[in-house]
Subunit: 403 residues, 2 copies
């Protein structure tokens, strides 16, 4: 059961931190909350207090920046412990914007099409673009094991994966949260994997992994482990359920837990790592009302992003599905390498079709992004629906009303 680990007794949640009342709560225990669309559209850098939160367990207690350390181990390169103070002071700090996205973002759209297993019915606010500061994990490994690791060619290392283990514990089983990424991503000089200790120029908030978390640009949020306590270099990917089960896009014929455990289930699919190209409409909100007689065009705003780190080449917006307006990009940020871990905010003035203006009623506005690798979003949620409700990247949309 992929959700096996989630439900826990209420008493484990007696010490959750205060949270912004602006967060739209999907689930209290563990805490899942998303950013309202209009607030997301309002800032290129998402403020920390309203940035979406996806916890898997109760918030870990007793962590302190002054006393925290991370153990880094194996294989064939021993184990060592670094204090967060070391990480902050001995390594160059890097700062850049990088999108975090819950794999369940826009799950509500998948759930509306067909029942999904994931519980949190996220809209488009399970995604944020913060500015992270930290040490490159590449620099840390280079300093620890300059001889023992081949830092240039990852193939020459026995380790192929890097497992991140958090301090957040499933109290009933004792399991700590864990996920892994390829060592090649860490060693890539343009990979930008951070041990991040600041978000938007401030210490991390408890919900975002205080005092230190992994930032893995372009990857699903689930691998960007918060409250980081251990890093394990490994020949294999993590054996944790979040790696081997939950975060997988099952074939479309799998519609229940029995199917998920069968031959076309978890074992047949790779773990979600790099995220696909996507865009969503943030404003106008669904249900917004416009005067049919006077509204020739509607200003539409949204985000676009591709986990591949290639720039968004174009966002097209339409109110009829046939004629497409090319959106203006209003904000983004490109790394010196050309990789684009930040989102691209965009806006477009979309003409309201003459036919629609003649009568009152709903008007569906759609957006679709293409990245620089020519990857595009699928039109219909039906064609990417999956049992866990993950990686919904069909055309973004909002339904407004003409009156």
């Amino acid at each position: 059961n992929p959700a096996l680990l989630e439900p826990q007794g209420d008493h484990f949640y007696a010490h959750e931190p205060p949270r912004s009342p602006q967060l739209l709560v999907q689930c209290q225990k563990p805490f899942n909350g998303e950013t309202p669309h209009a607030l997301l559209a309002g800032a290129f850098v998402t403020p920390a207090d309203i940035h979406f939160v996806r916890n898997h367990m109760p918030l870990p207690r007793g962590l302190s920046a002054a006393e925290h350390s991370i153990t880094i181990e194996g294989p064939g390169v021993g184990a060592t412990t670094l204090t967060l103070h070391d990480i902050r002071t001995k390594f160059k700090a890097h700062t850049f914007c990088s999108v975090l996205q819950c794999a369940g973002n826009r799950r509500s759209e998948m759930a509306a099409y067909k029942l999904v297993e994931g519980r949190a019915p996220w809209n488009s606010g399970g995604m944020g673009n913060a500015r992270w500061t930290g040490a490159l994990l590449r620099d840390v490994l280079a300093s620890l094991w300059p001889q023992e690791l081949d830092l240039v060619n990852p193939l020459n290392n026995r380790a192929k994966h890097v497992c991140f283990i958090g301090s957040d514990q499933h109290k009933e089983t004792g399991i700590y949260y864990e996920g892994s990424i390829p060592l090649a991503k860490v060693l890539d000089p343009l990979g930008d994997v951070l041990l991040a200790y600041e978000m938007n120029g401030q210490e991390l908030l408890p919900d975002h992994g205080y005092p230190v978390r992994a930032i893995v640009p372009g990857y699903v949020g689930a691998r960007q482990v918060k409250w980081l306590s251990r890093i394990v270099l490994s020949e294999n990917e993590s054996e944790a359920p979040w790696q081997k089960k939950d975060y997988k896009l099952l074939p479309q014929g799998v519609t229940d837990h029995e199917g998920a455990e069968g031959p076309q289930g978890w074992t047949s699919m790779p773990a979600v790592e790099v995220m696909p190209v996507q865009s969503a409409i943030l404003t106008p909100e669904a249900g917004s009302v416009f005067a049919a007689s006077t509204t020739e065009a509607i200003k539409v705003r949204g985000y676009a992003w591709s986990g591949a780190g290639v720039p968004i080449a174009r966002v097209d917006v339409s109110a009829d599905g046939a004629t497409w307006t090319v959106a203006r990009f209003t904000a983004s940020e490109v790394r010196p390498s050309g990789r684009q871990w930040a989102w691209t905010l965009w806006e477009a003035d979309v003409p309201v079709p003459e036919e629609s203006r003649k009568k009152a009623g709903p008007l569906r506005i759609m957006c679709k992004a293409m990245d620089a690798a020519s990857n595009t979003q699928p039109e219909k949620v039906a064609t990417v629906w999956n049992f866990r409700g993950l990686n919904c990247n069909s055309w973004g949309n909002t339904i407004v009303r003409l009156e």
Copy 2:
């Protein structure tokens, strides 16, 4: 005019080589020919003589492996000339399968939807999977300029791009064929950019770039320059028309040359480099006939590939667009790095819908691939149509007949 350079006098084509009569000719001058679908499906490694050919000019004459050399230059690192003999003997040879694809592959489907500018109406055979042998360009640069170039972090170099110049010349203007790729791709230890002098264990055929060509895994064929004569490290991408114009996916509102030269035209879009996720059905061929009364399922074969180098996670096949059969992968090849430059061949036994079996008529069979970054193919060609008819990666399909 993006096609400005193509038409040339017949007399320039007096010395074209003999070619396999099995190639389906799209254009004689310059020569463009594709592989019949059934032959493509029949071999994991596409034989050289039937591998698609997309030439931009007359075949260059007088090239010889014994006398050929490549000049490599700047910026800030001088210029040097390497003989092909040096390239063959002084550097480790690497051999692996890598897909070549014409950006115009499946253009016929785009053209059927709406007029496109590209002349060659490719079906799904403008793509092949050959086994290439050559020296890594990374190794060559490391040997030439161990001090002058930062081989680990491309950001530390003035050069950001690598231009490849062929020996094929547009006789009327004197321009040689040219394209560029990011230096980061060349320096990536897992990037696998080759100076290739063998195809499927043999010297290159004239049409495939004899005596040496660039192989740039995951990139559009247009950058994998044949008959390679010069390599230029540059601060900017190539200024050639094939980089700045032809190989771009223009916004969907651009439907003529005037639009292409306007503000939403060439200058608004990036050059095609990394290719998107895709799949196509190779057999049964369109028009194949099956007995409605006795055909419960149809065996379907095809290819799938993603230029990102991530594995194909799944291919789904359907004869009704609603229920999807997961295809079996019959052949692929993964690099030790995990990158997958080879295609994945697949097959599936697709149930014929009961409704279709009750009456004679056409039956459309569809396929859609998802790669390990969760990128998928768009359903309809209309949503990715573009003026040049490039990168058609909508759902693969074939229409057979039930009788």
